[in-house]
């Protein structure tokens, strides 16, 4: 008679081996399991970075100077905004917002400024508050509508409707105010609060 004792032990050993390998695989895999297919985490990081960049830009260098963001909104300088927000801060190696995106992809931004004014033209007897927006900085690639995007905002103090001071867009005086980008005509000439809204997405 052939002794089959050893066969049983071999089979048990193989079964145990399979179970051990499976367990090790699951344990090692569980450390990074939440990343694939979950865009919420990268969205959260991108939103935080964007809000931080706006906060940096809205911080004045000292008490006697306006913040960069304030100057940008006052002169409606979209090129300067894109240069600072995107190039200097968002995509810089130190802040490393690239890490919140997948390899080979970039972050596209679109900045809009919203302001509040009282409409006395449409119905002079019953003036209505109106929220109006204008584009500060255009995106490099148009938004396709399918990418997950985040929105960050920042309130900015504007002292007046500034149309004459164009020192940032033409540094060499005398400068022609007609060449400088202006705020829309409906922006009231008074100290006011405007909302800078930046929409960011990965493309």
């Amino acid at each position: 008679m052939v002794n089959s004792d050893a066969q049983l032990y071999t089979m048990e050993g193989i079964a145990a081996g399979v179970i051990m390998i499976l367990t090790a695989y699951l344990v090692l895999g569980s450390t990074s399991v939440y990343t694939p297919g979950d865009t919420h985490i990268t969205d959260m990081q991108l939103e935080q970075v964007g809000a931080d960049v706006l906060k940096i830009m809205d911080t004045p260098p000292d008490l006697n100077n306006a913040s960069e963001l304030e100057k940008i909104v006052a002169t409606n300088d979209g090129a300067r905004f894109h240069q600072l927000f995107w190039e200097t801060y968002l995509m810089s190696g130190e802040i490393a917002a690239q890490k919140t995106t997948r390899t080979g992809s970039s972050i596209i931004t679109n900045a809009t400024v919203y302001y509040h004014y009282t409409d006395t033209v449409t119905d002079p007897l019953n003036p209505q508050p109106v929220i109006q927006g204008y584009q500060l900085s255009k995106p490099l690639i148009p938004y396709s509508g399918s990418e997950p995007g985040v929105r960050v905002t920042r309130y900015v103090n504007v002292t007046a409707r500034n149309t004459t001071d164009c020192s940032s867009c033409c540094p060499i005086p005398p400068c022609d105010p007609a060449l400088c980008p202006k705020m829309p005509a409906t922006v009231e000439d008074r100290p006011q609060v405007m909302l800078v809204e930046v929409f960011m997405w990965k493309a």
Partner: protein, 133 residues
């Protein structure tokens, strides 16, 4: 099944039992595994939902206006218009209700009371700040 002693017949039972125990272990591992996906998502969603940056921004803006008021660079009419700006912008663009009240300067206490109310439907925030300017 001649040649098998009563003790040897029980060996198969041990194998089955061990297999059973290991399968329970794998079941618990799978349970932890399925939980970890939810943990990552709910944490990120919680952070996204909490309007931390909005609150800090609105608060800083209101205190900034208080400062400008104290320095006399804002008239009462201008201050009222600025309040309308903040309220309308936050209501239309951030779907948040913001109300604030900048109190008069109290020479005895040497401060000014600023009341801030914020509500975006999910989160509500109230603050009574004593400002020394």
């Amino acid at each position: 099944m001649e040649g098998l002693s009563p003790e040897r017949k029980e060996e198969g039972q041990w194998i089955v039992l061990m297999g059973f125990l290991v399968s329970i272990g794998i079941f618990f591992l799978a349970l932890i595994l399925s939980q970890s996906t939810i943990v990552g998502q709910t944490t990120a969603e919680g952070v996204l939902e909490f309007p931390k940056n909005d609150l800090q921004d609105v608060r800083a803006e209101i205190l900034d206006i208080t400062k400008e008021k104290s320095m006399g660079s804002l008239t009462q009419a201008q201050e009222n218009r600025v309040m309308e700006d903040i309220q309308n912008l936050s209501l239309h663009r951030k779907s948040a209700l913001v109300e604030y009240l900048i109190g008069d300067w109290d020479p005895g206490a040497g401060n000014r009371i600023v009341r801030i109310h914020y509500n975006n439907g999910v989160f509500e925030y109230d603050e009574t700040a004593s400002v020394r300017y």
